[in-house]
């Protein structure tokens, strides 16, 4: 899911960079000291999750877990993800420095979308509804990311539909795995540590 250096055109890279700076600024403004440990833990989780690979055909895809990061952190997902993405680029060679911005947008925007779509039901629904909401958040975040990656490849000259199909079908197993993981994580967190979901929905802090 991480686009590498040299795969995208300059205009796409600049657009990604600008959007990322804006997103990180919003995320940092909405961040307070009480929720900082969550940001750190989820950033660390995202950083390591990318090493869990699901083999698909000749290639392999890895977990992203941006749905979980999004529903818990809201806008603060942006700073959490940008740090982890930077470290992944430096340490593992996933993505790259020039594509950092566009990768952050492709992964963080779906996370924030999932916060607005499923954050309410995850926080205040019945346990069953919260689990389904968690599953939907985990799966939809990947699907949105697939679409955004295909769009950024398309704007750099790749054909949209074949690229989108390839990315989407390769990530079907990831959607299933992340849906289940996110759903289970939400149910567990609501039971044992409800204040992890303390981010009030409706007026996202």
């Amino acid at each position: 899911m991480h686009v590498v250096d040299g795969a995208l055109s300059t205009s796409v890279l600049i657009a990604g960079g600008v959007l990322t700076v804006a997103g990180v600024a919003v995320g940092l403004r909405k961040l307070d000291a009480d929720r900082l440990p969550q940001v750190g833990v989820l950033s660390a989780m995202f950083f390591v999750a990318s090493l869990v690979h699901v083999p698909v055909g000749p290639s392999s895809v890895h977990l992203i877990l941006n749905g979980l990061v999004g529903v818990v952190l809201g806008w603060s997902a942006f700073p959490a993800l940008i740090i982890a993405l930077l470290l992944q680029a430096v340490f593992f060679g996933f993505g790259g420095i020039t594509v950092l911005g566009i990768n952050a947008v492709n992964i963080a925007l779906p996370a924030i979308a999932c916060f607005y779509l499923f954050g309410g039901v995850i926080r205040s629904g019945t346990p069953m509804a919260a689990m389904i909401g968690g599953f939907a958040a985990g799966a939809c975040a990947i699907a949105f990311t697939c679409v955004l990656v295909s769009v950024s490849l398309a704007m750099s000259g790749d054909e949209f539909l074949p690229a989108a199909k390839l990315v989407f079908f390769a990530h079907l197993p990831v959607m299933a795995v992340e849906g289940i993981l996110t759903g289970a994580a939400i149910v567990l967190v609501r039971k044992v540590k409800p204040d992890l979901l303390s981010l009030p929905f409706g007026s996202p802090v």
């Binding site: 590498v4 440990p37 950083f47 090493l51 000749p58 290639s59 740090i83 340490f91 490849l153 990315v167």
Partner: protein, 202 residues
């Protein structure tokens, strides 16, 4: 306590799923020149080779020269017909791209150069001609030796490549711990600034 879990949780996640962190999927391509023949391989950074991948070759100006497929072991081969820079591109889709450049001076001087450089000065032409005639005298043995050396070196390098991959896998664990340390440290720095802001406000 939170800091403790901060480090432990992600590590447990990887361990619990029992997945080695070595399956990075960066595309790696390499090309070697033997006479006019360019041989190369396409693989992932974990050592897996990529069969049936489309390999496209462009001139430095972006003109497409040819395309070929990798064989069952991820190797490809093509003949250079001109002595120009060859940009070899592999695109496995979804942003998995790799690029290798075979420069003109790696290719034998017997090949025709790029159209613009073919009009060499007369002295240069005669020099090339004399070099060619000299080369023709010893070409049979020279070629053979070159091919033998290339093969022997490739054979010797292979175990080293394997050891490098094993080493990289080991280093990866250090990288994971290093990355988690960075996240921990950055969280601490942000804490510091937030606390200072709060104290000023009070």
């Amino acid at each position: 306590m939170r800091l403790f879990w901060c480090i432990l949780t992600p590590l447990l996640l990887v361990l619990a799923l029992g997945i080695s962190p070595s399956r990075a999927h960066k595309v790696v391509a390499a090309a070697y020149v033997e006479g006019p023949t360019v041989e190369g391989e396409v693989g992932f950074s974990n050592g897996d080779m990529v069969p049936d991948a489309k390999v496209e070759v462009f001139s430095s100006g972006g003109e497409k020269l040819l395309e070929t497929l990798t064989d069952g072991d991820g190797y490809f081969i093509f003949e250079a017909t001109r002595r120009i820079d060859h940009v070899i591109k592999v695109n496995l889709g979804a942003g998995h791209v790799a690029e290798v450049v075979v420069t003109a001076d790696e290719l034998p001087s017997t090949l025709a150069g790029a159209p613009t450089t073919s009009a060499a000065s007369p002295t240069e032409q005669t020099r090339v001609a004399s070099q060619q005639s000299q080369a023709a005298l010893s070409s049979v043995s020279g070629r053979d030796i070159e091919a033998m050396v290339a093969r022997a070196v490739a054979k010797e390098i292979r175990p080293l490549q394997k050891r490098i991959i094993a080493y990289e896998n080991k280093v990866r664990w250090n990288d994971i711990l290093g990355g988690l340390g960075y996240i921990l440290g950055l969280t601490g720095i942000v804490f510091f600034f937030l606390a200072r802001k709060k104290r000023r406000a009070e």
